[in-house]
Symmetry: C2
């Protein structure tokens, strides 16, 4: 079965298709959405995903008459740089891409962000199609946030550029390493925690199936995760208000990523610890104990880390938080859960409470 949902953004609305084997059917989706056959399209992928799926995708597209240029960048966050961005623009120019061309991201979040920023900028914006190959990318495939990194800060150079459509082939998820599976589930669980209590309960009940990559369970989780994000983004496309709730767990999470050595924590692992921290802050500010217990239980079942390794220096974590771009005009924006499936954005959370929480996150025993 193919699940379909629409990200409702007026004239920039677009569908997300989720199902098994969609890569093989890519040409019909490209046709349906009017991707040009007269202008070349460019597939951007990385050195991990390229060997697995690039040739197959090129073949099905070429067999239907599409002109295909491909670019393979090194796998990893290092490719989200202005230097690689410029190389892709060069490739697009050399490949003859024009204003009617489409850029296709085949890969995870790094490829989506990088290729998306190329699509946003090339000739001041061309069409963009996402073919995510990780669970985590369900998050970045909704909302059009694209960016590259600057040596001083992540995602600081970017744009809002919505794709024409998203094609999620569940088969491409079968080869994901377990750590990437868990990291992807982290954002899916986050979507439940901010918006959808029933989906959190479903995750609680179906975590084993998810970890075993059961296609139907995965398809459902991606559908729900994308659905929550789509609902939020529809209200607030350019992150001026409601969209801030998507940062649950990210204030501490980003700081941990900044402080951790390369590879120590994935993004999903960092925000897992961050979400536990947010639950602690929530309870301390009056939310029911349940908020902490359920958050702790679901994340724990998934095998994601729920404690902060002791060697993390609290001062360093606090300093990293102060440099994060979520700080606007000197005040801190913090997403605080008030119940499972419900959060509020507060700007009055004392730094002392956050510091105390970071300390509590390091304790072996469960908090409280």
């Amino acid at each position: 079965m193919v699940r379909e949902l629409t990200v409702a953004l007026g004239e920039r609305s677009y569908p997300i298709y989720i199902g098994e084997g969609l890569l093989q059917e890519a040409a019909s989706y490209f046709d349906k959405h009017g991707v040009s056959k007269k202008s070349p399209l460019m597939i951007v992928t990385d050195s991990h995903i390229g060997p697995l799926y690039l040739e197959a995708l090129e073949n099905v597209l070429r067999a239907s008459g599409f002109q295909v240029v491909s670019a393979v960048v090194p796998a990893g966050e290092g490719s989200k740089s202005l230097a690689v961005f410029e190389q892709l623009v060069t490739k697009a120019l050399e490949g003859g891409l024009d204003r009617k061309s489409t850029i296709v991201a085949l890969g995870g979040g790094v490829i989506g962000d990088l290729a998306g920023y190329v699509a946003a900028s090339y000739m001041r914006g061309v069409r963009f199609v996402q073919i995510p190959t990780t669970i985590l990318a369900h998050d970045s495939s909704v909302g059009g946030k694209v960016a590259v990194n600057h040596p001083l800060a992540k995602n600081i150079i970017g744009a809002f550029h919505q794709p024409a459509f998203v094609l999620y082939d569940l088969n491409t998820l079968q080869s994901l390493p377990p750590r990437d599976v868990r990291s992807g589930l982290s954002e899916a669980i986050k979507h439940g925690l901010i918006w959808d209590e029933a989906f959190v309960a479903w995750c609680d009940d179906n975590m084993e199936k998810l970890l075993a990559l059961d296609p139907d369970a995965l398809g459902y989780a991606l559908f729900k995760g994308c659905g929550v994000k789509a609902a939020v983004v529809s209200v607030d496309e350019t992150e001026n208000g409601l969209r801030a709730i998507l940062n649950l767990g990210h204030t501490i999470g980003h700081a941990l990523e900044a402080v951790a050595g390369y590879g120590e924590l994935t993004h999903g692992e960092a925000i897992s610890i961050g979400m536990i921290g947010s639950a602690i802050v929530g309870v301390k500010l009056g939310a029911p104990q349940e908020v902490y217990k359920v958050t702790r239980r679901v994340l724990g079942k998934s095998g994601l880390p729920v404690r902060l390794p002791e060697h993390f220096d609290t001062d360093a974590v606090m300093r990293a938080m102060m440099h994060d771009k979520k700080f606007t005009e000197g005040s801190i924006v913090y997403v605080v859960p008030t119940a499972i499936g419900k959060v509020e954005v507060r700007s009055d959370v004392p730094a002392s409470l956050v510091r105390e929480t970071v300390e509590l996150l390091k304790q072996e025993a469960d908090w409280q």
Copy 2:
């Protein structure tokens, strides 16, 4: 007097203020438009304009409580590069600019394009204010097209990012070299030729005043030039249709710029020759002879070149035209005048006619 016009783009609408001494009154305009005093703003200027006006602008803004960071880049097209773009992002990060910050372009078209692309990209888009200091910049200050160059093509990396407002201080134009004055008038005359017969007649009658930098005449010409562009852009913000008429003279003009050695032709000079070429094409396709005569007379009065220097190789010019991004899906988009103040966009102009026109442009005697 301060002339004011609005670029009507729905929620992205913005005003252009044109008058003498507006730089000294900048703070009140910044206040009026809600530029943040809590978040630093960054002024981007170049090594020619900086020494003339930067300190004065910094002083009036700081005196009113704005936090000001400044960045001075080398004057010239060379600064419209990804490398300088990255330096400006670094400067913005080091200066503590956040999502509520504003980027201010103080300078000509290069600075507007460069600073505008920084504003479009920094933290996925911050506010942007333009303070143009050339006549030519009246063109780029309307419509939100911002970009940097790639070694293989001009303006290929960019965005559509509308300013919050534009502040045109006529006093800053008094020090313009005569060649820059003429080049700026070239785009103003173009706006008349595509849209406003009466303004072309006014230019014909008032060219001496314009060349003498009479403030009232200049203010009127900028008001009319911006007005035409605003009318066109309001209908077609992202260059999908009508906006193509703004490319009158640019098909040949861009090719001449690409072929010419550095500094041989300014943009305004190149499109002046290009507009003569367009008039020739127009008459050959059935427009009244008047179209050529008036175009020739007004551009001639301004001192702009109306003939192509003989050493330009016709083959090279034709090849350069084929690489221009105005070619979509293999067909050529050419803006052809049908009367003074009226043009049509045609995609059926034979390359042979354009080649013949390039040859005619080299002839010493007036054509026909």
